[in-house]
C-alpha cells in the first residue's frame, strides 16, 4: 500500500502511471551490476522513482578519477568501498526503499546467486566478459536484462527479454579485453538514464521497449538511431536458456 507520504513524494509520476503503477515499482526488485558511471545514474534514478528493492554490486573503492562521472560519490568518500557509499547515498535519497549493496566481483560462481530473486537485471558494468556472465545468468533465471555501454561520446542501449529477443551474445559474439575508456560524466548519465527509463517502462508495461533494437546514441553529433537486431538460432548463450 502506498502511504500518504508516497502519494506526495511521487505525485508527478503518479500522473503518468497512477497508484497501480507506483505499487508495481514499489514491489519490484532490481539488480544492478556495477556502481560506476552507469550504475550511479541508474541507481539514483531508480531509487528516486521508488523502486522498492535495489541490489547493487561493485568490488571497487572510490578514487579521485571516478568523480568526473560516478555521481553516487563525493570527495569525502575517497578510499571507501563503493558498495558502502552507494548504499548510504541511495538510502539518504529514499529511506523508504530497501537497498542491499555488495562489495563483490561478479564471477561464474556467484552470478546466479547474486541475481536470484531479482525481477530485472541492469548491466551497468564496464567490461564485456562480466556482461556475458550477466547475460547467461539472465537467460538461466529468465530475468530481463537492460544493457548499456559507452566509450567517449558513443553509447548503446538494448533491452533483452530471454526467449524473446536477441541476447547480448547474439549481437556481440566476442568482445575486446577490458580497458579504461574515455568517459564524460554527462554522457554516461544519458545512457544510464535511458536504461533506467526502460526499467520503469518494463515494470509498468508501458510504451515501446528497446527489444530487438540496439539504440545507438551519438553524443557528439546529437543523433540517436536504432539498429534492428535479431535473435540468432546459432547463439550458444540464449539457445540453452
Amino acid at each position: 500500500m502506498l502511504s500518504e507520504r508516497d502519494l506526495e513524494r511521487y505525485e508527478r509520476q503518479l500522473r503518468i502511471f497512477g497508484k497501480e503503477g507506483q505499487e508495481k515499482l514499489k514491489k519490484a526488485k532490481v539488480f544492478i551490476g556495477g556502481a560506476g558511471g552507469l550504475g550511479s545514474s541508474v541507481s539514483l534514478y531508480l531509487a528516486a522513482a521508488g523502486i522498492g528493492r535495489i541490489w547493487i554490486v561493485d568490488h571497487g573503492t572510490i578514487e579521485l578519477s571516478n568523480l568526473n562521472r560516478q555521481i553516487l560519490y563525493a570527495e569525502d568518500d575517497l578510499g571507501k568501498r563503493k558498495s558502502d557509499c552507494a548504499r548510504e547515498r541511495l538510502k539518504r535519497l529514499n529511506s523508504n526503499i530497501e537497498v542491499e549493496a555488495f562489495s563483490e566481483t561478479i564471477n561464474e560462481k556467484n552470478v546466479n546467486k547474486l541475481v536470484a530473486d531479482s525481477d530485472l537485471i541492469v548491466d551497468a558494468l564496464d567490461n564485456f566478459p562480466t556482461r556475458y556472465l550477466l547475460n547467461r545468468a539472465a537467460h538461466v533465471k529468465n530475468i530481463p536484462l537492460f544493457h548499456g555501454a559507452l566509450e567517449g561520446f558513443h553509447g548503446q542501449v538494448t533491452t533483452i527479454v530471454p526467449g524473446q529477443t536477441a541476447c547480448l551474445r547474439c549481437i556481440f559474439p566476442s568482445a575486446p579485453v577490458p580497458s579504461a575508456v574515455p568517459v564524460i560524466g554527462s554522457f554516461v548519465g544519458v545512457i544510464g538514464c535511458i536504461q533506467a527509463t526502460e526499467v520503469i517502462k518494463y515494470i509498468n508495461g508501458i510504451g515501446k521497449l528497446l527489444e530487438n533494437k540496439l539504440l545507438m546514441v551519438d553524443g557528439l553529433n546529437s543523433t540517436i538511431e536504432e539498429i534492428e537486431v535479431q535473435k540468432s538460432p546459432m547463439c550458444e548463450d540464449c539457445r540453452r536458456g
Binding site: G148, A175, P178, P182, Q230, S232
Partner: protein
C-alpha cells in the same frame, strides 16, 4: 543488387554510409573490400585478410559470426550495419 550500409560510432567519420551497388551473388567480404577503398579505411576493418576481431557487422540484424562470416552471401535489399565495440560503463 543494392545493399544499404550503415556505420555507427567512430566509423561514422571514417566511412560514408549509403547504398552500394554490387553484382549479384557477392559476399560480405566483397562488400567490405569495396568499402575499404583507402588504407585508413582498410585498417579500420581488416587485420591482413581477416576481419579485425570484435567488430560488429550485422546483416539484417544478425551478426555475421552467427551466419557465414566473411563468406555470408548478400541479397538485394539487405541492410548491413558496421560498428566498432564500445564496452565502458
Amino acid at each position: 543488387m543494392k545493399i544499404k550500409v550503415k556505420f555507427f560510432a567512430s566509423f561514422r567519420e571514417l566511412f560514408q554510409e549509403g547504398e552500394v551497388e554490387l553484382p549479384n551473388g557477392r559476399t560480405m567480404r566483397d562488400l567490405l573490400n569495396f568499402l575499404c577503398d583507402s588504407s585508413k579505411r582498410r585498417e579500420g576493418i581488416f587485420d591482413g585478410a581477416e576481419l579485425k576481431p570484435y567488430l560488429s557487422i550485422l546483416k539484417n540484424g544478425q551478426h555475421i559470426f552467427h551466419l557465414n562470416g566473411l563468406e555470408t552471401k548478400l541479397d538485394d535489399g539487405d541492410t548491413v550495419a558496421i560498428f566498432p565495440p564500445v564496452g565502458g560503463g
